[in-house]
Structures are given as structure tokens and as C-alpha cells.
Symmetry: C2
Subunit: 395 residues, 2 copies
């Protein structure tokens, strides 16, 4: 069996994603489609609007055969770490292909960029360091460094999709994986596009429209299964977690906040200074935002605070060259057959059920899950928690 | 000016309290009535049903001239520490009298008990230690030790009121204060009495009746001002904090929980074990309860978890022989005149406003206040927090 991997968040799954699954299958002729998916929190530092199980069901309904969780440890990190976790999982599964969406759909531009960066590594790093010292945010400094070594001209690194794609290429190269990397042109609206104007819209615009109660607008942009889930399930957004975040910032002394992943350069004092002036999450982020910190970076720090993710833990566990296990969230018969065919030669232990104390990275996963479910009524939260240690979804 | 101190919680203030204020004034002939009052959390380990400012207003309306806060550090502790904080404040204020309510109203019984305990200190401590090792709870072991040295026969130490009164006597003795201690017989129903059957009822029965929506029953047992406050203000009960408590127990590893005041002898594992089976606070406490831990002790641990009160901080700060400052929550003109008359010879700094970073004990006070207000909508919580650092209430 041949397998093709996609790296996804499906927050929520929409028509553009369905198209991407179909195109990737066609392009690679694979028998099994694998999605490596963020769990309850996303790369941009947000609680996913639907929990991992609902999004797994949506994926299995839309043509995916096997959903593997990208552990929280890797999911809520900058592009390179996110990519490291996801690509190493596909490598461990011995998938043949990885397909990602990009603005132009040309893998050649990415290959050239990769070669260019490798040839100019020293110059690249020098510019990056200088720009960071000048107070630029990490993505801005990174972009300036790419430009300095002549990469940005060939590859649009202003696009989050291209940044992620490039990160996958770098991760695959570093890992020395035989994984064949392809890209297809995304047909969806821009990543940051705000309005929905047809069957293809960005996940961001869909979330915004849904939370604004514009249900009919959303209906045209998502498959029926996603629509039903949005309609039925408990939705999660930063605002619902704001009281909890506020409580944590006020009742933990600065020294405790400083232990949290991403809480660097005195950011804890900014958190403490502005929390009492903030009536909601958006206002709080606007107040703590500066040129140096992107909105996304600040959101990630908030996720780590909410989930009690400690700096020391992250640095110890991210040292490993690859994701320590493969966790199955859901599968079809085809996905099951694929796993059976690879079982004896997988590069990491396969887990169909998490257990307390199984692995530190899995413990953090459960801790993050508990934080995510904490805004639900206790009986619902308890049920959701039970699903975390139950067998995968089978569709 | 002569002053008489009472040590109170007023949770909420009821007719029995008003009677006690009047009787204490008559008995001592004092010009100024002082209440040393717990803040937002009470000695039994509960969030006070009304916040400290509402309860201060009620006290000033009921005959009290000066309300001083018993810092959170002392308030949510066993009787001896509670007494140490409160008595040392009255001593620092150079009040002439302390009057407490007891079952029989005879100070002689308390004096004899005190003399008895002092004469048999070694035997007392031996029995206490043995009984604790046999798995009795602290109050039970204490009582057995009192019995062994012949105290319980003369003084009913099964009554929480008498336990507290005896603790005041011991604290006054230890401090060597000139404070004259008196007791009057309580006319209210028993401390643990469940039903309200007239104008005098226990605070516990009033809280229960109010939370059960039996408003007319409550009306007969409290002054009009308390009734209005109950009707107007945001009420606090353990159940409202349960989601937060649940979140903390699930997302903090055992090593972190172990730093919390009172989290001893592996209690953190019991907390973690039973939290996922609990749908509410009462159920949780019933599940973690054993012979060794009283309900009150477990509630106090929950308060310390909620307020992030660390063991190390408590032991460092409770070493001091007396409360480090006097914080005025509210006063009448008479109370103000009293303070003016004593200002130059107070035994501790007088604070009419708290400030961040003023004193570690005050910082903990603000931290506990933030935890207490965290269940309110952010705009109300912010307002309440502002009151914490505002001048006292003047009535």
C-alpha cells in the first residue's frame, strides 16, 4: 500500500480541504490518505473551534483514511518545530508522499529556496541575528534574512502557507527521509481572507462567520458533516477562556509566569500590567502587543499559560530528533489495513490509546486536553477526557 | 476612649451578631466597638457568601465602629493560628477588651482549662502526638488530649465556638497582652444548626437557606441591611468555584500541588484520583474525605489551591509572633476618632490602603482577592479589585 500524508489543522474542515485531499490523492495515486493533525490547540495559538475528535470525524468523512495526532508539544510552536513534529511522524509511518498546499503549486521554487538557504547559511544566520537585535519580530527577521540571501524573490514567504511548506522541506531534508514532497496550488481564498464569498473560504473566515452567527454563509463553504458538527458541538474560542487566563495571570506571581514556555524578556510583567485593564481576550492582546511580538506568538504564550506548559519541559522534550510516538485518533478500514501492513517496521511506537504516565509528551497532551475541556460543564468535560484515553474513532 | 474588640466573620451578619455587639458593649462600657473580620475566605475554608466590603458595610450598620481585616494568611487556618492573628491585631490596636461568644458564658471555665493545660503540657502533647499517629484528625486528637488532662469535663470543646474562645485565651496568654478577655453566652442557635426557626439562626443555616432560595425564612434572621446586600450583590459559594478548582487539579502535576499549603501526606494524589469522578464540589469533598481529614481541613486546602497559597510562604510568614500590619476595611466617625487617639502608640503599622508590593502578607491578600473575584464578570471583578486598593469605607 502506498500512503500520502497531509499536515493539517481542519479548524474547521472546509471545501478547500476536501479539494486538497482529492488532488493530493490524484497526484500521488496513493491507496491511503494520512492526515497529521493538530489536537485541541492550533499552530497559531488558538483553541481549535471543535475538539480533536469532532475534527477527526470530519476528516474521515472527507476522504482521509488515517488521522494521526500532532502532539501538543509540536503543534503550538513556530513553523520549524511544527514541521519537525509532523514530518517525523510521516517518516516514522513510512509514508511515501507528503503533499502541501502553496500559493503557486511549484515545488521547484521551494527546492531552489532550500538550496539557496543552505549555500548561504552563515550569511542567513547573521542577518537573522542582527534583525532580531534590532527589535524585529521573529517572522519579520526571518523574512529579512531570506531576502538578504535572495530567497524571497523566488518564493513568497509573506504567505503563511509557503512558510509552512518551506518548513516541511527543511524538516524533511534535515531528517534525511525518503518521503517525496509535492505541492499543489491552493484554491482556497487567502489565509487571512476575512469574508466568505462562495464555496471556497479560509478557515479563519469560517470561524469568524460562525462565531458571528452567520450560519448560512458558512454552510456554502463547508461539507455537510462539518456543518452538523459546528451546529451540535460545544465551540471553543479564546474569549471563553479569558476568565481562566485572567485568573492565572492575577494569581500567579511573576516568577511562576516566567516558567511558562514563551514567557521571555519580561513578558510576564506586561501580562500582569495590562490584565486588569482588559475586559476580553482581544483587548488584552491588543494591549500587550508590540512590534517585537507577533499576535500569534502572544497567543501561543497564552495557550502555554492555560495548559501550564513549562519552558524546561519543552526544551528537554524538543531536543529529540523526532516525535516519540504515533497516536492514532481515527481510521477507516483502509487506514487500519495500512497500519497492519506497516506495523512491523514503524520507526516509533504506535499508540491507539493514551494512558496516564505513558510518556511525558503524552502526559502534556492530556494536561492540555484537560485545560481545553475545562470550560465545559463537568459532566461533558469528564466525557471528553474519557475519549482521550479511549480507542480511536473507527469510521 | 475605651475599645472592645470582637473577632468575627459575619458570613453573613445576622441578628445573633447584632445581639452580641450590643451585649459586649454593655458588658465592657466601651466607646468604640472593633471587629477583626476575616476577608473573602473564612476560617472553615469557604469563600464568604458576600465579599469583605459588603460585610464591612453590614458591620458598620450594626453597631461596629471599626472593621479591621484579619489577613487571609491567618484567617484560613486552624483555630490557634486564626486566634494568633486576630488577638495580636487587637493587642497592636491597644484595645482594652476582647469579648467572645461561648456556650455557657463563663470565663472561669476557660481560665481553669488554660491553667489545666499549662500544668499538664507534657502529658497533653504526648497524647496529642499518639492520637495523631493513630490516624485521628487534628481536632479529634486535640480533644482526646484535652480529655486526658481533664479539661473536656469542665469545658465543652465539642463546640466550635468554645474551641475558638479557648484559642483566643491561649493566644492572649502567649502574647502577654493586657487585653481583658470576657465571654458572653451566645443566644443563637447551634453553630451547626441546619434549620431556621425564628429571629436567631446560625450563619450556616442562613447561607444554606439563601442559596436554596428560601428568602423569607432568611429575612426574619438578619438585619434589613444584610438582607438587601444578599439580594443585591454577587453571592459566592464553593460550587461556583468548582470548575476552576477542577481545572487546577487536572492541569497541575502532583509536584506542583504538593507545594500548596495543607497538601500533605500524599493528599495531592487523592485530589487527582477523585477529581474526574466529581461533578460538583460537594461530591468531590465526599470522595476525598477520610477519617484523618476533617471536611474543614480539606476545604482549607481547596482555598489554598484556589488562591495559590504556597506552603513555604505560609511557614515563613507565620513564624512572626504577630500580624505585621493593621488594615482598616471600614469605620464610623467614632472609629476614626479612636484611631486618631491611638495613632502614635500603635504596635504595628496602620494601613488604610493596600498597595502592590507593600508587604508579602498584603500581596497574598490581593492574590486571594483576585482568586475570589475571578468568578465574576471581568468588569465587576476589576471594580472589586480596585476597591482592594482604595481607602476604607466610611459610614
Amino acid at each position: 500500500m502506498n500512503a500520502c500524508g497531509l499536515i493539517v489543522e481542519y479548524n474547521p474542515l472546509h471545501n478547500g480541504h476536501v479539494y486538497h485531499i482529492q488532488q493530493a490523492q490524484k497526484l500521488t495515486g496513493s491507496d491511503c490518505m494520512i492526515a497529521v493533525m493538530s489536537g485541541n490547540f492550533t499552530q497559531r495559538g488558538e483553541p481549535a473551534i471543535l475538539d480533536k475528535f469532532s475534527r477527526t470525524r470530519a476528516a474521515l468523512s472527507a476522504g482521509i483514511d488515517l488521522v494521526i495526532e500532532l502532539p501538543f508539544l509540536y503543534a503550538v510552536q513556530h513553523a520549524d518545530l511544527f514541521a519537525k513534529g509532523a514530518v517525523s511522524i510521516l517518516h516514522a509511518l513510512q509514508a511515501e508522499h507528503l503533499v502541501f498546499g502553496s500559493e503557486d503549486g511549484s515545488i521547484e521554487a521551494f527546492r531552489q529556496a532550500l538550496a539557496g538557504q543552505q549555500a548561504n547559511q552563515t550569511a542567513f544566520e547573521l542577518v537573522l541575528k542582527q534583525q532580531l537585535e534590532h527589535g524585529l519580530s521573529y517572522p519579520e527577521a526571518n523574512r529579512a534574512a531570506y531576502e538578504a540571501v535572495g530567497i524571497d524573490s523566488s518564493l513568497n514567504l509573506g504567505s503563511p502557507n509557503n512558510i509552512l511548506g518551506f518548513a516541511y522541506m527543511k524538516a524533511a531534508e534535515k531528517l534525511g527521509t525518503p518521503l517525496q514532497v509535492h505541492t499543489i496550488r491552493r484554491i482556497e481564498a487567502g489565509y487571512h481572507e476575512q469574508a466568505i464569498s462562495g464555496p471556497i473560504a479560509s478557515a479563519t473566515s469560517i470561524r469568524t462567520a460562525w462565531l458571528d452567527n452567520k450560519r448560512q454563509t458558512v454552510k456554502q463553504a463547508v461539507p455537510g458533516s462539518t456543518y452538523e458538527l459546528l451546529d451540535d458541538e460545544n465551540l471553543h474560542s479564546w474569549e471563553a477562556y479569558f476568565p481562566l487566563l485572567r485568573y492565572l495571570i492575577l494569581t500567579r506571581p511573576a516568577e511562576m509566569l516566567r516558567q511558562i514556555q514563551g514567557m521571555d524578556e519580561g513578558l510576564e510583567y506586561r501580562f500582569k500590567k495590562y490584565i486588569n485593564q482588559s475586559l476580553n481576550f482581544k483587548q488584552f492582546l491588543s494591549l500587550i502587543k508590540t512590534k517585537r511580538y507577533t499576535w500569534t506568538r502572544l497567543q501561543r504564550v497564552c495557550v502555554h499559560l492555560l495548559t501550564n506548559t513549562q519552558k524546561q519541559f519543552v526544551s528537554e522534550n524538543l531536543k529529540e530528533p523526532s516525535c516519540p510516538y504515533i497516536r492514532v485518533l481515527g481510521m477507516t478500514k483502509k487506514g487500519q489495513a495500512f497500519l497492519a501492513s506497516r506495523k512491523k517496521r514503524l520507526d516509533a511506537p504506535l499508540h491507539t490509546q493514551l494512558k496516564d504516565g505513558m510518556h511525558p509528551v503524552a502526559d502534556l497532551e492530556l494536561q492540555a486536553a484537560d485545560a481545553y475541556y475545562s470550560i465545559l460543564p463537568p459532566e461533558v468535560a469528564t466525557q471528553s477526557r474519557r475519549q482521550e484515553i479511549a480507542p480511536p474513532i473507527f469510521l
